[in-house]
Structure formats: C-alpha cells, structure tokens
C-alpha cells in the first residue's frame, strides 16, 4: 500500500494535487482528511488543508513512485509556496496509515501493532508516547532524543529497538611475588529487545521486552596463550581454569599458585635459670601484704650454665609460578653481649661467680650479666653520701634529705624514702612510704625512645632529600659537574633553603637532647650521628659529601631507630607501698599496693594499678589504669587520670571532681560513681 500526504489551499485542491501526483482517480484511492485547513485572517495565520490519499492497488506502486519523485522535483504549488509534502511508506517504516479510518474511537490515540507505531491526533488531543530504554523513535528519519513524543500530524514515525552486546572481558594478573595468578572474567552478554503490541490509548509507553543471553566466549587456548606470554610454568589449577570457561557470572579465579617459602627461625637465647624476680602483690588472706614474702631473688652459683645460644634455622625457599626460586626471609643469629661475671663456652653462657643473673633482650641483641649487689644497712643521708652502683642496691634504712641513689639493677628500699631521688634502668621497690621524692625506673629506655622518634623524623626527611637529589641528577638540564668537584654541599644548601627548610630544626633538636643526655647513653653511636648531621647539614665549612656517604648515614640512622623501637625485656617497673607529693616515672608498670597516692604525678609506660585511694595528682598509664578509689568528699583537689585512646580506665569508686581523659577526649565526674569502666567509643567516652 502506498499513500501520500498532500496539501492545498483547501481540501478539494489538496485532493486534486494528490490525485495528480498518483496519476489516479478518486475511485482508486482512499481519501482521508487530516486537516481541513483554515483561511486565517487577511491571509495571516492561515493553514493549508491536508489530506492523505492511499492507493490500494499493488501494481500501481512503481508507477506512482516515479511520478511522485518527478513531481517533487518539478512542482511547486500554492501561493504560500507550500510544497507538496509527499511521503512514501516502505514496509518497515510505518506511519499513520489507512487503518486510521477503521473507527473514530482511535481519534487522539496512539497504538503499536506488529512492531509498528501508529497515531492519530484529533482536534482536541495529541497522542503522547513515552519512549523507554533501548527504544528509538525516528520522526521523518530524524532520531527523537526526548523521552516523550507528541504525535502532531502527518509525520512518519519509525520504531527501532536497540540490542546491546557486550563481549566477554577477562584479564590475568600475577601478584608482585609471582605466587598467585588470578583470572578475572566478566562473561559477555546480549540483550535483545522487541516491542509488543500496545492497545490504542491517549498515552502509550514504548517499553521494550528484554531478552538477555549470557555468552562466555573465553576459550582454554586463550587462557593458555596468555599464561605462556606471562611465562607462567607451574602450579596450574586446571579445575579453576575450566570453571572460569564455564562461568556465567563475573568472578575471579585463582588459576595458578606458587609455593611460598617456608620461614626459618632467627637465632634465640634459651635461658636455663630463673631470672625473674617473683612478686606477690595479692597479699595474704587478710589482704595485707607481707613484704618478707614479696620477693624471691634468683641467683646462680659459679660454673652454672645460665643459658644456651641457638643458631638461626634457615627457611626453605619457595617457587614462583614462573618456576623461579623464591628465597625465604633471611634469618639472623643473636648478638650476644656478655657483661660482668659471665663467660661464653661454645654455645653456652656460664657464670664465673655467683650473683643475680640478668638477661636483657632487645630484638636480636641479648645482654647477659651477673649483677653484683650492694647491701646498705643504715640510712642514706648526708653522712653516707649518694649511692652510685652498677648492680642491685638494697637499702635497709631510710633514704632522705635530697640524697640520690643510682643503680642499673633493681633498687630495694626497706624503709621510708623522704625527699630523695632514685634512678635506675631496672626496677624500684619501696616497702614503706615515699614522700616528696622522685623515682625513675628504666629512664634510659625512655630517653632512647625519644631519640629514636627524633631520628625517625630526620630519616624521613633525609630519605626524601636523597630522592630529590637523584631526581635532579636524572634531569636533562642539570649539570652535575660541580658535584664532582665540591660534593653535594652546594646542592644540599639549595635544598635546605626551602624544600627541606625544617630539616635544620630537626637536627638541632636532636643534638640538644643528645647534649643533655650524654652520660646516660651506653652507646656512642647516637652521638656520632649527631656530629655527622651537624657537619653535613649545619656547618658552613666546606665539606665533601657524596651520595654514598649520605646513603650510609641514612642506613645508620635507620638502624638506631629500629633498635630504639624494639622493646626491652624485661621491662622496668616501680612498686611502692604508698606515695605522697612525689613523681614516679617508669618505662613499665607502676603498682601502688598500700593506702594509695596523694598529689603525685605518675607516668607508667605500662599499667598503672593503685590498690588504695588516689587523691589529687596527674596519673597516666600507657597500658591502662586501675584504681580502687579516686578523689575525696569535700575535696577541692582535682585528680586527673589519662590513658591512650586504645586503653581503658577502671575505678571501683570515683568521687566528684575527678577528670579522666582517654585519647583526646575528657570527661569530668560531677557526682560520685561506682564501678567505673571507661573506654573510647566513636570519639566519645563510654562506660561499660
């Protein structure tokens, strides 16, 4: 069926023009009046009349076709220069057709039949079409890129559905160690869309029916080719590969696995004797602490074997998927440092006199010594002078009047400590009260942690500086001729001008701490690094610095830092009966086992535990705080308790005015409270 749309000044003229174009008579065609047209006013705003003529005889088609084409080329009609608009329908491009005449109930409606869009505007209603996903509608061969469409008249509307196709995507990745090969696959698919018939309506939605077909096109040969390209030779999982070929869902398969190296074991020192002092803090059944039973001091006799040195056990190398050996992590022997009173025989450490065995471990460094012991029977006061002793110190009398006791073993004080100063790298145990004194246990370690922290900052900056220097040397426009002559100094000065402006401050700070702590440092290495840093970076005197010397310095700094963060075993600690107006500082735990603490600043690198009452002061426990009772009624003194963000504070009874701080969050108790167990939850203090 062929139809044309023809326009004229009035219906009659429009029909006549159409018939002329079709070379047909009125009897051969079906006439449909689309628009009666209007004259307008004084020739303004007039509309041409529009009719559609449909010729129903097949044999006339070709003829008509030619005629129309010819007419379109030649003929211009009408004083309004309205062209005769003629549309030819082919079998797939569908339009308003003769079926329009089937009933007036189709007025103002649109519908879809056999995959074709029909529409028929009326005087009062334009049919509305909503275009769904994957559906395209062409108006006179122009794609409509809106979601809604009004059918306004004699246009040709074509529906096309879009099929989607996604090919199978896959990739093979090998991890850095070449121990795992992963095949990630997303199978391809095809979505086929079609339009079903839609009943005539003033508003229709063109929603396509979707049919999804998954198509995994990956082949075994594809996978094997890629594996071959990647030189993967062993550890295949054939079943996983086959699963990947069959999968209809996105998935990642491990298709080959290498053999991990088996880790070895670093050398270690096996201690054969008892070295830990045993404490009994819990007291007897009456809750009283019997100091006579508190401590058992271990000792060894001459010739006794203190411990055995075990060599490292190397690990077993593994194999990568590319069939290369993968070495196991290197294992290291211990570094044995033999102190006083011990000797090494083969792999054994033997006591050559009697005393208390002391074993200090810091990473692979093991220090074994026999600590001598000083027993001081009387008081320590102006008449005896200060005590400095490298070993354990036991004082039976009082320590008073600004006297100082320094040791590098444990200090055991049987009587009161009043206005005194006790320092040791070991533990401090005070059986009576401590008043107005300063006790520091493990101070050496605190210092090393501080220095290590500062060296770490210096290390980061120096590392960055080396990266920039290497970058510069690789730059095309950078001439390194003067570096050969004068070393890196001019360049370092330029770098510290701006980019590493803070570097000199870091070095100065480190040097200051070293300067103040000189005599507490066992090893000269800390000091040597400070001297080198000053010479290289702060000194104005000419100095030839090469990349190699900087690398060396960097390595040394890193070693010292690593050493500083390695925990010391065993940790120092402080145990006192009760304490007032004092300062306690320990790199490990602090226990106050008697009546409690008053107005004392306590800093514990481990747990702080007070069995009695804490009243006033500033208390900190790096591994948490446990106190029986805090504060006092009608007391104005604030007790301040703090722990790091990941630790907890436990108090059996807390009085008002107490402030606790966990991480950076503070909480003040305004009323007494029992069984407090505080921790940090979502940046706020919470109670269990």
């Amino acid at each position: 069926m062929k139809s044309i749309v023809s326009k004229g000044r009035n219906v009659k003229e429009a029909i006549q023009l159409g018939l002329d174009l079709l070379k047909a008579t009125v009897d051969d065609v079906h006439v449909e009046i689309i628009d009666q047209g209007s004259k307008g006013f004084l020739g303004i705003g007039g509309k041409p009349a529009t009719v559609r003529l449909t010729k129903e005889q097949e044999h006339a088609q070709k003829d008509a076709f030619d005629q129309i084409e010819k007419a379109l080329l030649e003929q211009t009609v009408d004083e309004n220069t309205e062209k005769v608009a003629a549309f030819i329908k082919d079998q797939t491009a569908e339009v308003v057709t003769s079926q329009w005449t089937e009933g007036s109930q189709l007025e103002g409606k649109a519908w879809v039949k056999n995959g074709k869009l029909y529409g028929r505007p009326s005087a009062t209603q334009f049919p509305i079409i909503t275009i769904g996903k994957g559906v395209q509608v062409y108006k006179n061969d122009i794609l409509i890129d809106k979601e809604t469409l009004l059918i306004t008249g004699s246009h040709e509307y074509t529906i096309r559905t879009i099929n989607e196709e996604q090919s199978t995507r896959w990739s093979i990745e090998v991890d850095d160690q070449r121990l795992r090969v992963l095949l990630a696959i997303t199978p391809g698919y095809r979505i086929e869309r079609s339009i079903h018939d839609i009943e005539p309506s003033e508003h229709i939605e063109l929603v396509a029916a979707e049919h999804r077909v998954v198509d995994n096109t990956l082949t075994y040969a594809d996978v094997m080719d890629r594996l071959d390209n990647l030189r993967i030779k062993q550890g295949f999982h054939q079943d996983a590969i086959l699963q990947a070929l069959d999968t209809l869902e996105e998935h990642t398969f491990e298709i080959a696995t290498g053999q991990k190296p088996k880790p070895g074991k670093d050398g270690w020192f096996e201690v054969l004797v008892d070295v830990d002092i045993k404490y009994n803090y819990d007291g007897n059944e009456k809750g009283r602490i019997d100091f006579k039973e508190l401590k058992t001091i271990p000792s060894v006799d001459r010739g006794q074997i203190i411990g055995l040195v075990h060599p490292p056990v190397p690990g077993q190398p593994g194999t990568t998927v590319t069939n290369e050996p993968l070495p196991a992590k290197q294992t290291y022997p211990i570094v044995l440092n033999l102190g006083d009173g011990v000797e090494g025989v083969d792999n054994k450490v033997v006591a050559i006199k009697s005393g208390r065995p002391h074993v200090e471990k810091r990473g692979q460094l093991v220090r074994v010594s026999l600590l001598p012991k000083l027993l001081h029977r009387g008081n320590v006061d102006l008449s005896t002078g200060n005590i400095h002793f490298s070993g354990d110190v036991e004082v039976l009398g009082e320590i008073q009047n600004g006297m100082k006791v320094e040791a590098d073993g444990d200090i055991l004080a049987h009587s009161t400590i009043f206005s005194a100063h006790l320092v040791t790298s070991g533990a401090i145990i005070a059986k009576k009260n401590v008043v107005g004194s300063e006790l520091s246990a493990g101070k050496n370690n605190m210092l090393i942690v501080e220095l290590g922290h500062q060296l770490h900052l210096i290390h980061q900056q120096l590392d960055k500086m080396l990266v920039v220097i290497k970058q510069l040397m690789a730059s095309n426009a950078f001439k390194s001729s003067d570096l050969q002559a004068n070393g890196l100094q001019p360049l370092i000065r330029l770098l510290m001008e701006r980019k590493f402006k803070s570097f000199s401050g870091l070095i100065k700070k480190y040097s200051d701490v070293i300067h103040g702590a000189d005599k507490f440092l066992e090893s000269d290495e800390w000091k040597e690094v400070a001297v080198t840093l000053n010479r290289f970076f702060l000194s104005l005197a000419p100095n030839r610095i090469s990349l190699a010397t900087l690398d060396e310095l960097l390595l040394k700094i890193n070693q010292l830092y690593e050493w500083s963060i390695t925990p010391v075993e065993p940790n120092a600690h402080i145990t006192v009966l009760s304490v007032q107006n004092s300062r306690l500082y320990s790199s490990g735990d602090i226990y106050v086992i008697g009546s409690g603490s008053v107005n004392t600043k306590i800093h514990a690198g481990g747990l702080l535990k007070i069995n009695g009452i804490a009243r006033g002061g500033d208390l900190y426990g790096k591994s948490g705080v446990e106190i029986h009772e805090v504060g006092a009624e009608n007391s104005h003194a604030t007790t301040f308790i703090s722990v790091p963000a990941d630790q907890r504070i436990r108090i059996d009874k807390v009085m008002e005015g107490t402030v606790i701080k966990i991480g950076h969050v503070k909480y003040r108790f305004d009323t007494p409270r029992h069984a407090v167990h505080a921790y940090l939850k979502d940046d706020d203090i919470a109670f269990v």
Binding site: V468, Q471, L472, S475, N476, A477, F478, K479, S480, S481, D482, L483, A485, N486, P490, L491, R493, L494, L495, E497, R498, K499
Partner: protein
C-alpha cells in the same frame, strides 16, 4: 662558558645569557654583572639560551636576585627552558625567589 649581551632600555637592563649557568659563572656574576645591574631600576635575565644549570649556578642566581632586591631593584627571569625550569621546580626556586620573578 657562560657569556652574555645586554640591552639597555631606559631604566631597564635586559641580559641575554648564552651557555651553561654553572660554577664557572661565579666570577662573571660577582665581578661584572652585579655592578652593572645596580645602575638600573629593573633587570630582566633572559635564560633562553641556557641549556644546563648546576647547583652552584642556581646558588649564584638566588644570591644575585636577593642582593638586587635588597637594593629595591626588581628582577625578572624570562624564557627559562622547560628542562631547566623542571630543575628549578625540584628545588622550589619559584618559592624561594617569588613566583612572579619568573615570566
């Protein structure tokens, strides 16, 4: 070896450099150029034909700009090649001398 030509325009001195800005330029900068530049109100250093720099050369440049700025002589550095500017940026020369110095 670094050489230069100058172009005087009223109170502006333009210096066109040719060659590498390196340690060998020390004398040139400190003895000749500085004195000449001090007679002008503004100075434009054209580095168009300077293909290489070294750390001493950059040190000289910084020193020169600072000395002149102290005497309230404005300094601009122009036509720096891309490669040389990369080196300047690594050392943050634009931040040291002021970003508006480079034109």
């Amino acid at each position: 070896m670094l050489s230069y030509t100058t172009l005087e325009e009223d109170k502006l001195l333009r210096v066109d450099f040719k060659g590498d800005l390196d340690i060998e330029a020390t004398e040139l900068f400190q003895q000749e150029l500085l004195k000449k530049m001090e007679e002008f109100q503004s100075v434009n250093l054209n580095l168009k034909e300077v293909p290489f720099v070294d750390s001493s050369g950059m040190g000289l440049l910084i020193e020169l700009v600072r000395t002149l700025n102290e005497q309230e002589i404005s300094v601009k550095i122009s036509n720096v090649t891309e490669e040389v500017f990369e080196v300047f940026e690594l050392l943050q020369l634009p931040e040291i001398l002021g970003k508006d110095v480079f034109v």
